[in-house]
Symmetry: C2
Subunit: 407 residues, 2 copies
């Protein structure tokens, strides 16, 4: 080994698909969000103070030794059998057709979206997504080099005219991806009418629907429960509905557990993809999630965080009412984590963000959620991970930055 | 919604890449392996009785409440900072160049292989793998539609002549994947000479090396420690070495934690892929693994399982010596989980397996590990998850099945 090789001659030759992944601004935002001197309305994570730490620790302590050992062992690729059973029970309370479909436990619902992306997308094929759209979904579908076609969302859900236009295009989309329940980032809860129109638009098209229900449990108003009925539970004829969900908002994202409930044919493909992706989801946290469901504590816990997020949302709503200029459009949230501000058409949320950071507050600029990465006269505020004091202090900073740029 | 759609007209149109994934026989084997009336030499999982359940439970109990909360929260995509730090310390004890490379925590080392597959492989491109080869790697590389070129392994490691032939082929391979330390399934520990020849073969070719070191800690003989020095630690000029490892054999696979230690340029791509795959590895188990390393218990624990696996291996070696016909070739293991039997050229291990299952024992037939899925005059026996009594009872069943088919 006396010959010296120049390291610059030995550059790895990467696959083409990795170039579709963008070096994300999210990482920089997260760095900002963790600075103690900056009030962060950027992150979509639950409050650390809200996790059921003690309850879960006690549940683990009381498990028998065989179950504790199983927590250290590989689980079957589809999921720990006991969790599959208890989670089916949990999903049945939402009216979901668990017996006529297959349940696959995934390493967070991010993995569910990634697996579905891999199952359906060949390079350059089109998929339909909402605009704005959850960035994790954009990232997953980009990683398989999908052409992302954005369909606008208004206060009632996806805009049906525009959806129909996209559906009628010659090169048919491989699927439609939506987050109808407390949309991330737009905060929207689809109306029942809009869901029915969407179903009618898809029937007969052979375009599968990916229905992401990560936030549905976090409703603030009992009267919304009808609107929260998943399309998967409506079980419309002739549509392959792939329903995804997550323990991230109802237990903790650090467990990395999500799921998909899908028709058998789709399940078969997804299980193989899952096996090659990471063999199985973490048994350790599957054991914990199973105990959390079986103890019934999941129901009381979700009720308590629902109450807490409603309080945080109200505080932010009051602060926005007080401080925002009139020309900013926004919705009062009915659940979930987010408020979406729409600014005048020429506004640049990145400029506003720079000012806000200097003032001591941060959020996510709209273009992050645009499938085309362009439209930037909007921004997302999260209230999930802030104390009322932080909200009261931080919102005027955001409002001032908006005024400074937009007048 | 009065129109009825025929479900058969609404078949989903899958991507081409999923057809590259085989409906694995592994699942059926796992079902057999879990039947209490069958002695399984099939699984590559640690013994359930060996997991450090109590130690880990105590470590968790003693963590401060902030750390416990962090276990429920998202971690940064590259890994929990505290685990990245402690794991670097652990890897430094192996002489690995942690400062000149980047460490990425993955959801098991299966995910590390999958991410590297995605980073390097475009459809139809060639990669070099050992024959036989770890099935998880075959599955990961198949999922990106690689052309798998198998290079034979003998008792000292990969066969250099054959490797050189493959390297010289016009269509250059995107990487070489090897498991030099207690190879799965062949049980081989590469000789130092063979490693040096391999390094020399790769230098100047611009073919990256993926070095999978999932079993290196499980050596039975102190005198082998020099041979266990990773190629990544040798740090040869002009080769991009991607080193992968796992907590599965030194703590528990149910934690789903592995890692890759790779050059900066490769790391950048892999972090983006990881972000779109599952956002981050489980924080909960990262907190546990970190505590396990920092307490120093990882070292004493690994020493104890090393001792236990050596005992199980010795029991199997004695049983094989007593019962196997002379024409079966095999190596006494020096570490790891596996013994690989090579049968006469015309033997069919699947036939032998069927007989053995009827007799009450199961193993994995050789063709499962052949990149081409053909060669079947071999089989893998695992001793990792069996009591001495099971080994003594099960090996004669396997030997009888071999005699019944091969004479």
């Amino acid at each position: 080994m006396s010959i010296k090789f120049n390291i610059y001659t030995a550059m790895p030759r990467f696959s083409k698909s990795v170039s579709a992944l963008r070096s994300s601004e999210i990482r920089d935002l997260m760095t900002l969000a963790s600075r103690p001197d900056i009030i962060s309305f950027a992150g979509g994570m639950p409050g650390n103070d809200l996790f059921p730490v003690q309850a879960v620790e006690e549940l683990f302590r009381e498990l028998d030794s065989k179950t504790k050992q199983a927590a250290f062992q590989y689980a079957p690729t589809p999921g720990l059998p006991s969790l599959l059973e208890s989670l089916e029970g949990f999903l049945e309370t939402k009216g979901l057709p668990v017996k006529e479909n297959r349940l696959l436990i995934t390493t967070g619902s991010q993995q569910a979206l990634n697996i579905l992306g891999k199952a359906f997308i060949d390079r350059g094929e089109a998929v339909l997504v909402e605009n704005p759209c959850f960035i994790g979904a954009l990232s997953a579908f980009r990683s398989y080099e999908a052409e992302l076609r954005g369909v606008p969302v208004d206060r009632e859900g996806i805009v049906i005219d525009r959806l129909s236009q996209e559906i009628q295009r010659k090169e048919r989309a491989k699927f439609l991806y939506i987050t109808p329940y407390f949309h991330n980032p737009a905060g929207v809860l689809y109306t029942t009418e809009r869901k029915e129109q969407l179903i009618a638009s898809l029937q007969g098209t052979n375009i599968p629907l990916i229905e992401d229900d990560a936030y549905g449990d976090l409703y603030f108003f009992e009267e919304d429960r009808d609107r929260l009925k998943p399309i998967k539970a409506i079980n419309p004829d002739g549509i392959n509905v792939c329903y995804t969900g997550s323990f991230s908002k109802i237990l903790g994202p650090g467990l990395r557990l999500g799921w998909m409930l899908v028709p058998e044919k789709i399940y078969q493909k997804c299980e193989l993809i899952k096996q090659s992706a990471d063999a199985c989801s973490p048994s350790f946290t599957q054991v914990l999630a199973d105990a959390f469901i079986r103890s019934g504590q999941i129901y009381s816990y979700v009720a308590s965080v629902r109450h807490e997020y409603k309080k945080r949302a109200s505080t932010m709503v009051a602060a926005l009412r007080e401080h925002l200029p009139n020309y900013v459009q926004w919705n009062e949230p009915r659940g979930g984590f987010y408020i979406w501000l729409t600014l005048p058409a020429t506004a640049d949320a990145t400029q506003i963000m720079t000012l806000a950071i200097n003032g001591g507050a941060v959020f996510v600029a709209g273009k992050t959620f645009d499938p085309a990465g362009q439209q930037n006269n909007s921004l997302r505020l999260s209230y999930c991970n802030n104390t009322p004091e932080q909200i009261v202090e931080g919102i005027p900073i955001v409002a001032n930055a908006i005024r400074a740029i937009c007048g």
